[in-house]
């Protein structure tokens, strides 16, 4: 018979710190056992997640390169300034000698080229190296948003749009499929397997296949649309057009992952007791009312989980971009992770890549916290 105090005394320091002194014996043993069991997983997580993240955090304040004989130096916030600097600039129109406006051939007001201000102009040192992100007309002037890193800014906005569109789209489609498949029909498992199949296929393979589907000349999609419309459909270069490239990526990504979330919805649906539906039926509830007042409240936790999972996965958008578009055309499909990999690894600027990762981490953390807050269980709060 081992006495509690002895167990405690012989236990390693971290156990003594973690287990309260006055906890009953069985609880203390349980806590020790629990930590022991968690230990292998914690070790792996520490080596492959915690330590790399801490390294990235430290490196983002240096000029660390992947390949270089030059010594590593602290550069403070330089990497973040390069990523995030944004300025407003007012471009005044060109005027002739009399002060009148000059017009282009097509009748719009002519402006001097931005490069006159942003490239080594001693009068505008604060604009040096900045590029136009977007601009709009304000009276006679043009207001221009200049950014130090236009590509990163586009990547950030694209990634947020991607996540914002794909979360309701993919979650909703998955729920619809789950509702359809949550019935006792013959061969229902065959259908479940079919919808789940793309999830098992590697994203690289799926991306390669969809490149062929989206081919601008004789791709499957163009051919099918041509047949359906009896030849009146003009082929679209889906991945080559800046306006269709991102929607094409979104559609293809939703198709690939929808089966996974369908299965989670299905598991959620099956936890709702049939007695609730029977009671609702007795009360005279219709199909919509059953869904609204029985199914949906029953899926609450599942919905929160699916929302968070989809958003976090979407923020990590990479493979589709890497295989299908490499960020193009005209940065229409740049993503944050693609930029992190391209700079950190391909361009060998590991410090800049780390800085991007840190920015992404902060954004994902913020989204998750807001998400948790908005979907908190109001009954107990």
């Amino acid at each position: 018979m081992i006495r509690a105090a002895e167990t405690r005394k012989n236990a390693p320091l971290w156990v003594r710190l973690l287990v309260p002194k006055d906890a009953p014996l069985y609880q203390r043993n349980e806590a020790i056992l629990g930590w022991l069991m968690a230990f292998p997983a914690l070790l792996v997580l520490t080596i492959f997640l915690v330590i790399p993240f801490l390294m990235a955090f430290v490196m983002s304040f240096t000029n660390q390169r992947l390949v270089s004989p030059n010594p590593t130096e602290w550069v403070g916030l330089r990497n973040f300034e390069r990523l995030l600097t944004v300025r407003l600039f007012t471009l005044e129109p060109e005027r002739d000698e009399g002060g009148a406006l000059v017009y282009d051939d097509d009748g719009s007001i002519a402006y001097p080229r931005l490069r006159n201000f942003t490239r080594k102009n001693p009068d505008y040192p604060e604009l040096n190296g900045l590029r136009e992100f977007t601009s709009w007309q304000s009276g006679e002037n043009r207001t221009v948003i200049l950014a130090a890193d236009v590509v990163f800014l586009r990547a950030l906005i694209n990634t947020l749009i991607f996540a914002g569109v794909i979360a309701p789209l993919q979650g909703g489609l998955a729920l619809l499929l789950a509702l359809l498949l949550n019935q006792a029909l013959p061969f229902i498992n065959v259908f479940r397997a079919i919808y789940f199949a793309p999830v098992v296929v590697s994203m690289v393979v799926v991306s390669l296949l969809w490149r062929f589907i989206y081919d601008g000349q004789n791709g499957l999609l163009n051919t099918m649309l041509g047949i359906v419309t009896f030849g009146s459909f003009q082929p679209v270069d889906w991945l080559g057009n800046p306006y269709t490239a991102m929607p094409a990526l979104i559609a293809m990504s939703a198709w690939q992952a929808v089966g996974f979330h369908m299965v989670i919805w299905l598991s959620g649906l099956q936890t709702i007791p049939t007695s609730l539906y029977e009671a609702a039926a007795l009360d005279g509830a219709g199909a919509w009312q059953k869904f609204r007042y029985v199914t949906w409240p029953g899926l609450r936790n599942t919905a929160v989980l699916i929302l968070i999972v989809i958003v976090i996965q979407a923020m990590g958008l990479f493979v589709q971009v890497d295989v299908m578009t490499r960020g193009g055309p005209l940065d229409a499909t740049q993503s944050v992770v693609f930029q992190a990999v391209q700079r950190g690894y391909d361009k060998q600027d590991i410090a800049e890549g780390s800085a991007i990762s840190v920015v992404l981490f902060i954004i994902v953390l913020a989204i998750t916290i807001v998400n948790r807050y908005l979907t908190r269980d109001r009954d107990t709060s």
Partner: protein, 422 residues
Amino acid sequence: MKKAMLTLTLVVFLVATAPMVSAQTELSMWYHGAGNYVERDLIIQIIEDFNASQSEYVVTLEEFPQESYNSSIVAAAAAGDLPDIIDVDGPVMPGWAWAGWMVPLSLSEGALDDFLPGAIGEWNGEIYSVGLWDAAVSIYARRSALEANDIRIPTLDDPWTGEEFDAILETLQATGDYEYAFDLGMAWTGEWYPYAFSPFLQSFGGDMIDRSTYLTAEGALNGEAGVAFGNWWQSLFQRGLAPGTSQDGADRETGFIDGRYALQWNGNWAGITALEAVGDDLLFLPAPDFGDGSTIGAASWQLGISSTSENPEGAAAFIEFAIQDEYLAAFSDGIGLIPATANAAAMSNSYAPGGPLEVYFALSEAQALVRPVTPGYATLALIFEKALADIANGADVQDTLDAAVDEIDADIEDNMGYGFDM
């Protein structure tokens, strides 16, 4: 007692094997061609011949798939665990030499005299690597198609001029027989862009970087010549003469062979396949001259010695053994590349006088210009690729080239000149 016995056994074993180990020095070698059996057999043949030819060194081979080869080297260098002999892609070599991973290659006097310039890896006045082969690009065309449209067949001495070439593309497109007049290979993202397309820029009189200092791209990439090139480049896509960045890989492989593209900008490595499909009608034509001469990219995989090697003399002896003409010819016959010397070319099946790909040896000899020789090449190449893709998709030419120059210059500054005097 047991322990003592074990120790004794170990000592005896070590003493017994020691002479065996020290008699022959082991040289480790890493190679990028895992998965290609022909290439593997060739390299193993060389190693076996070398090991049998002398008793001082034994070369052992470790192979990597090409996609993960460079990262393996980076990881090994970080861990101080590089092999003695490494192979390295030509334009990447200065980066590795600058990082201190490679040492200059000391071969015997005159060993490289007959070599194609593209097969010799030189940086900072020293030779670091040497290749058994080079690669070259040319315009694939069908003689029948050109003759049907009264198009002159150009020669190495008298290539198409820029204007002539542009008019030819318009003519071929106007026939309506083709989806596109000229397939540039936009589907091959990555190294193909700087390798295959920077020669056009050079022919206009520009370059990816100012090669007189290697400290800036200002003026070279975004000067008048650069903008003229950019405008022409953009017009190829705007006029619908060439498939754009969304081209898929399958179209690239089969488009010319199927007759959907009239002309194709492609490398010697695809020559045999095209010849089998098209036959005698196929022509390999030199790059057009846009005013500043014609050039094509050069340098492929090469062999060099790592700085951590304890036996650089042995490694150099192996490399010198490997660059014999018979091996260059064997590699050429096996995997279709251009042998690095004229003698080896004459011994090879495809590049011998009268051989089907003979023209490529002449192209390499006459027009090869290595890609910018700077440790910053890896970054430079990616910036250039993005600029070309953006311009092809309609971005403003001057602004895009300016942005590329800014990024290149900032990278050079961040790296304190990449070893060039600032």
